[in-house]
Amino acid sequence: DAGITQSPRHKVTETGTPVTLRCHQTENHRYMYWYRQDPGHGLRLIHYSYGVKDTDKGEVSDGYSVSRSKTEDFLLTLESATSSQTSVYFCAISGGRSYEQYFGPGTRLTVT
């Protein structure tokens, strides 16, 4: 299995509070991605990174920001959490010529 960890694995927070989710990889892959998974929507790309300090928006980026100060870490921040951001968040990495993405175990976030 690819070395990807996510923390925390579960979090409950209140509306309006900031939340940061962490993705850590040990594979030295160039690309990292944050997705959210919601019933009926599959996985939707929030933000992605193509190198240290190089990030860009995905399909559903409103209300989210990211940072990547080291190759191995990709942080997703909800500046002011809303109930619509209740979801399961997955981190993924990619970097080979095979274009395969490897997924972390996910973080279940509940915003009350």
Partner: protein, 112 residues
């Protein structure tokens, strides 16, 4: 824009029966296609991929998929389903090869 359609939200099959999960894509050039599986509470695992060449590709766990350009389809098959195959299955296509970004279908939940 590239897109993926999985027309079946749920499929129920009996153990030992054959399985076919449908996937249709929208993409101008030769697509890079993937099937992922997600067991309950887990991340996504790659089952198989198609880039070029033989249109019938073999994957892990006894799964195979056939690429049909004329039908814009990449259906997943298994000749004999096991109870442990109960999971959610996602079809995906590379939307941006430069950044190795994926677009996912909404998934099909398999009940055995």
């Amino acid at each position: 824009a590239q897109s993926v359609t999985q027309p079946d939200i749920h499929i129920t099959v009996s153990e030992g029966a054959s399985l076919e999960l449908r996937c249709n894509y929208s993409y101008g050039a030769t697509p890079y296609l993937f099937w992922y599986v997600q067991s309950p509470g887990q991340g996504l695992q790659l089952l198989l991929k198609y880039f070029s060449g033989d249109t019938l590709v073999q994957g892990i766990k006894g799964f195979e998929a056939e690429f049909k350009r004329s039908q814009s389809s990449f259906n997943l098959r298994k000749p004999s389903v096991h109870w442990s195959d109960a999971a959610e299955y996602f079809c995906a296509v590379i939307s941006d090869g430069g950044f190795q970004k994926l677009v996912f279908g909404t998934g099909t939940r398999l009940l055995v």
